[in-house]
Symmetry: C2
């Protein structure tokens, strides 16, 4: 539903940051990326399905999360405008995903199918390069988050999140941020109170 003729300008502008596409490559991108409009709370991936699309976000915001046996949601990733989201594991292994990807706001996305992306990699190697760089940058960020998780308290991680993602901190409810940080919403509320207390003691 809601598929439309593709307008991949935002994607082309995105790739221009790394290795700009030539005319042929731009035309190929236009051919294989499909535009979709997504409602708030709509899923673009559900647990049990194979992740068959690589998704570029033109506007809006998504969360990717796992649900554990105790029925709790654990957010692995937020992604917004000019970012990618996909369960890489399921996408490449073709095995059922253990994750959900859900829109937190109405969104506009560009999606490419698994086999079309493999085709792009093979026929136009600049896509290999651009996607190498996309994943490298994501890896570096995840590594920083990992370091914070094994070396800092919940309060420090929250402050680091505020500093690195001021925009997200404004857009998202605290419950979601708590889930991302690996703490309970109640405890996040207590952290916030304690931070306010500190800044008043000037």
């Amino acid at each position: 539903m809601a598929d439309q003729p593709s307008q991949p300008e935002p994607l082309i502008a995105y790739f221009r940051q790394y290795f700009p596409l030539n005319a042929v490559e731009k035309s190929e991108a236009g051919k294989f990326f499909t535009e979709r409009t997504i409602r708030r709370r709509q899923f673009i991936l559900q647990e049990g399905d194979v992740c068959n699309h690589f998704t570029f976000i033109v506007s809006g915001c998504f969360k990717m999360y796992a649900v554990t046996e105790d029925a709790k949601e654990h957010i692995l990733q937020f992604s917004t405008e000019n970012e990618w989201i996909s369960d890489l594991n399921s996408f490449y292994s073709r095995e059922p995903s253990k994750l959900f990807i859900e829109a937190l706001e109405p969104a506009l996305i560009l999606q490419i199918k698994h086999q079309d992306l493999l085709h792009l990699f093979t026929s136009h190697h600049k896509f290999d390069r651009n996607f190498r760089i996309v994943v490298e940058r994501a890896y570096i960020q995840l590594q920083e988050r990992m370091l914070a998780n094994i070396s800092s308290s919940a309060e420090q991680r929250y402050e680091q999140f505020l500093k690195n993602n001021p925009e997200l901190a404004r857009r998202l409810p605290g419950t979601q941020i708590a889930s991302y940080l690996g703490i309970t919403p109640e405890f996040l509320s207590k952290i916030r109170k304690s931070i306010v207390g500190k800044s008043h003691k000037s």
Copy 2:
């Protein structure tokens, strides 16, 4: 010190898993990767230095870690035979690293310099592809570890580590594993005791 004529067979065998190199590409790999012998406790990267090499491990074992203001060591990664290790952030940004990479066992490695790797990417696009895949797989693993960290107790994370890395669990002292899991060695000791207790109650 200890540089030797390169014997890149293990590396070529490694790439064969993904996209095998042709004769020209093999010869290029041989030209740019340098072999080094590393002693136990020797560093191949120290905080403050720019990470100028991408390292493939032929044999041995390394840890990559950060040291925080309280002088504690936090292990971000272990890497062993047929794996890579490098501070991607410093390697690409050319800024001083915040990390150390240190040998936990005597090791044999193959290293390529920053500018030589960029050259390989540009002149032989199969390296773009192979490194895209290398980073994708590392990303998927790190994502699993991240999920464990935000959703599981220390005991569950330790059991998951034992299951996923039985080899490392045998090779490494518990102090190092505790640092990797983000807990204290004392607490790991108590976890071990509690696990033994459980398995006796059959």
